[in-house]
Symmetry: C2
Subunit: 409 residues, 2 copies
């Protein structure tokens, strides 16, 4: 005996057990979600097609889809004729089957949206503020929710799956950058936002980081289906992001996976700074102000942007150089198939940021790096509120491998 690897085995006390066992009930729940996600991704699919794509037997798929149709989640389309054999019946999601509410809390505004089962935004309410405060925000939850509910029939209201909230980490930080009095922002410290909202909303409430939520939206409704894994970056007031692995959202142990803000990068002058100092709309605001340009159009709406000229180009170049370093760093840890970039700006800005980032990456040392594809997000500046609204879908309808395992503890 030369060496015993088992002798390194630790004391039982602090060992962390993996997730729990599986059983049939959970298999069924998982397979139902899988079937729905296949229909969702392809728009519409026949039972036979689902059987082929899932590897499940045709009979199993028949039983599952019949149940989903009976629940009203799936609806049958016109039988497709013109091929050998019995005509196939394409099945698609019933857009009216499930509604969900999504809220985005930003540093200048908050939105609540009503989304249908296929990602259509049916209604939206918004409020703006110089900086977010707990009291007014919770009032907005009550009033906004009431307004959205008023537009729905009782039958429709009964089909609301939940209320998802997309908010930045530590809202009270960055007070100075937001231009808010620190004393006011400190009011946030005592607030359990999820609990306070849950007290005011008669649906299941889910709170998630805003950029992670946007990533979720991109996964379901955007470019997600094209890549098995990707890093998602959303440039808002500050930069944030999310991680998708094996076609599923990976939030990480503390929920901060993809929160690339603190990533160290080298700035224009070679100094090392955190990514969020460069890739943020606040920085653009400051650049505009220095150039004597009114920055307020930045905040009204992404569609209110105009081409601000040189300061905008400077900002894009700096952002791209920083993002390029973030791309390389993340690709050295996880071999992402793609990095998807989006933000609270118009599509034409996004296109320029992505192009500049591609160019900046090409200037770096790529030897040995498994380079991800760098692509624009397809969801756009509303990704955070759409992502918020998709959170209830994740917990109830979208495939999550944890559905298979028992929750422990």
């Amino acid at each position: 005996m030369i060496k015993d690897a088992a002798s390194a085995m630790a004391a039982p006390a602090d060992i962390l057990d993996p997730s729990g066992g599986a059983n049939q009930v959970r298999v069924r729940a998982y397979n139902e979600r899988l079937v729905m996600s296949l229909v969702r991704r392809h728009g519409s699919l026949s039972k036979a097609e689902i059987a082929r794509r899932s590897g499940l037997s045709a009979q199993t798929v028949t039983v599952i889809m019949r149940a989903l149709e009976a629940e009203g989640l799936l609806i049958r389309g016109e039988p497709l004729r013109g091929k050998v054999g019995q005509p196939s019946v394409p099945m698609r999601l019933n857009p009216e089957a499930v509604y969900s509410l999504g809220m985005k809390i930003g540093r200048r505004s908050a939105d609540i949206v009503l989304m249908d089962f296929v990602g259509g935004i049916r209604r939206q309410v918004r409020c703006t503020f110089p900086y977010p405060m707990p009291g007014p925000l919770l009032s907005f939850v009550e009033e906004g929710l009431a307004e959205l509910q008023a537009s729905m029939s009782p039958q429709e209201r009964a089909r609301i799956a939940g209320f998802g909230v997309a908010a930045p980490f530590e809202l009270w930080s960055w007070a100075s950058e937001v231009g808010a009095p620190q004393a006011e922002m400190d009011q946030w410290r005592g607030v359990d936002l999820e609990a306070e909202i849950a007290r005011r909303v008669p649906y299941p409430v889910t709170l998630q980081n805003d950029a992670t939520s946007a990533c979720a939206a991109e996964l379901v409704f955007g470019r997600g289906p094209h890549y098995p894994d990707f890093l998602y970056l959303f440039i808002g007031s500050f930069i944030g992001g999310g991680v998708v692995l094996n076609s599923a959202l990976f939030t990480g142990r503390t929920g901060t996976a993809g929160a690339v803000g603190p990533l160290p990068v080298q700035g224009r002058d070679g100094e090392t700074v955190q990514l969020l100092k460069i890739a943020s709309i606040y920085r653009l605001e400051n650049l505009l102000r220095e150039a004597g340009i009114d920055p307020m159009p930045l905040w009204y709406s992404p569609d209110g942007w105009v081409d601000f000229g040189a300061p905008l180009q400077l900002w894009i170049d700096d952002v791209a150089a920083a993002l390029a370093q973030a791309v390389i760093a993340s690709a050295s840890v996880i071999d992402f198939a793609a990095v998807i970039i989006d933000g609270g700006f118009p599509d034409w800005v996004r296109a320029r940021v992505v192009d500049a980032t591609k160019a900046a990456v090409a200037r770096l040392d790529l030897q040995g790096v498994t380079m991800p594809e760098i692509v624009e997000g397809a969801v756009g500046s509303h990704a955070r509120s759409i992502g918020g609204a998709s959170l209830p879908l994740f917990s109830r309808y979208l495939p999550d491998q944890n559905v298979l395992f028992k929750e422990l503890g």
Copy 2:
């Protein structure tokens, strides 16, 4: 209707479907692996304990464990008395139930080890060379395997689960660093190493990156059970690594997850270089040579190292400064619970590298970073060959959530 997220939905053609459906047979296979991994992690556990930890019913656990005992994989220990109720029967892995073979291919030597079911290294053969070449290496596979087999009874040989190979990516690269003629190294380009070994070995052959394999060893036999996720770094001839997420090895789409070698870091003079230029034993070799010290003891055996004084300290400081940057960068992408550092050096060097890395991290800007714990690996310099031998265990006995899903395509 304000905006339709679903309109971003792509054409069906290039959509990537998630993994397939699940069924009972797979549930059983998964639960069996889960039970075994619980026993493995805790050394020995009673059926009731397993039921509690897995969330499975006592009866289910009874059935599964009875079957595993009948297969000879589990053996019952002495009933534990002294507590209220029927004495519990601790069950543990039968070390002789399964053997596996592991091979490590390095740039100066290759090892083949015979490992038992609990990670004990029963036997080891080694060959050394100035640089690795396909012909001699494959001869070593044949001769080494024959030697190891000769030490086993036919019954034991029948219980060999497989042959796992841990080899660096692109063995033919870095010829100049290895001090090998480029023409000779180019011989590797045409070689399908896995296939060539499979032709010479009568067991299932698995090929995996060497650092990823070492990570696997750390996951099963080292500090892995203490952390739900971690980044693993192994400093050998060059640096490599692996990623563990949700207590499972994550190799990534291309198998290069955790391959941090190309990560850009700032060196001593502020210049940006790839991590592998700094964190490598080759660099230490060069430093020793410059200082007029014979570097050959580096390569004979990790136990052959002596304290080389100033050049070693310089190397450790540089490595630590670079690793610290890699730690921050990776923590900004995934909120790892830990970064585990090991390498092809003695334990006392590992301790100094880890301590220096902790100190270097503390000198960086940590605002907003979810800092992982930085810890020493518990497996040590043999991690790669032990990891190689653990590869067959992963494919046959260790829990892998993919066991639940149908393979598609």
